[in-house]
Symmetry: C2
Subunit: 108 residues, 2 copies
DNA sequence: ATGAGTTATTCGCTAATTGCGTACTTAGAC
DNA sequence: GTCTAAGTACGCAATTAGCGAATAACTCAT
């Protein structure tokens, strides 16, 4: 059970092992151990890594977890189209749109 | 850094410490250590726990991670409205709907 | 090509942590 | 009261993390 994506994510950021270790506040050799699979990060380090690389712990752990997203439960703006976030108005519009579509469909 | 939600999730399932430990294939006292914060699970155990409890590792780790969802990138149906999954047609409809809304908005 | 400087990999050692069994405590059923 | 199951706490053995130092690989300029 290795953290296979670490190297990839780190290189994408153009960071050296030392850079990354510094950001984590650990020794270079320690972080190197994570990438090689020789060592495992503490939970704190894992969480910090996820933050640094802008991803989830599940992702780092190689777990492709996907929760179903219920639009009526969304409190925050999390959806985007063409890489532009939806406003609250747009999100409400989408919900209404879907309900309308379904209503039409049922009457067929 | 404790796994505070474990007890809550276990009780929601009406499992004893022993039940849960059995499912994980570890000793009761070991699992008890996770809940009390005295011990920490291995990554394998963490992942299995997330599976057993139907949640994410991020959730168990107390991390409220939310990725921005780009609708045009969605390969699978992950969205739902009124707890009913959107079909592919509906998802395409939503994207077209948003683009149309924005076009109208820009022309104002 | 040589050498300086940076980056990556490996290793021994120590300190810390895990996982287990066991024992103790509590709670409820009979 | 006694029995069983649940939860808690602890000592011990074994594993593991983290560190620095040593070594190897890579990248430049000269």
């Amino acid at each position: 059970m290795n953290l296979d994506r670490l190297t990839e994510l780190r290189k994408k950021k153009n960071w050296s092992l030392q850079d990354t270790a510094d950001r984590l506040g650990i020794a270079k050799s320690t972080y190197a151990g994570y990438e090689s699979g020789y060592r495992r990060p503490s939970f704190e380090a894992l969480i910090t890594l996820a933050e640094l690389f802008g991803t989830s712990c599940d992702d780092l752990l190689g777990r492709h977890f996907e929760k179903d997203i219920e639009l009526t439960d969304l409190k925050k703006k999390e959806l985007s189209v063409d890489y532009r976030k939806l406003t609250e108005t747009e999100t409400s519009g989408v919900i209404a749109f879907i309900r309308a579509m379904r209503e039409i469909e049922e009457k067929k």
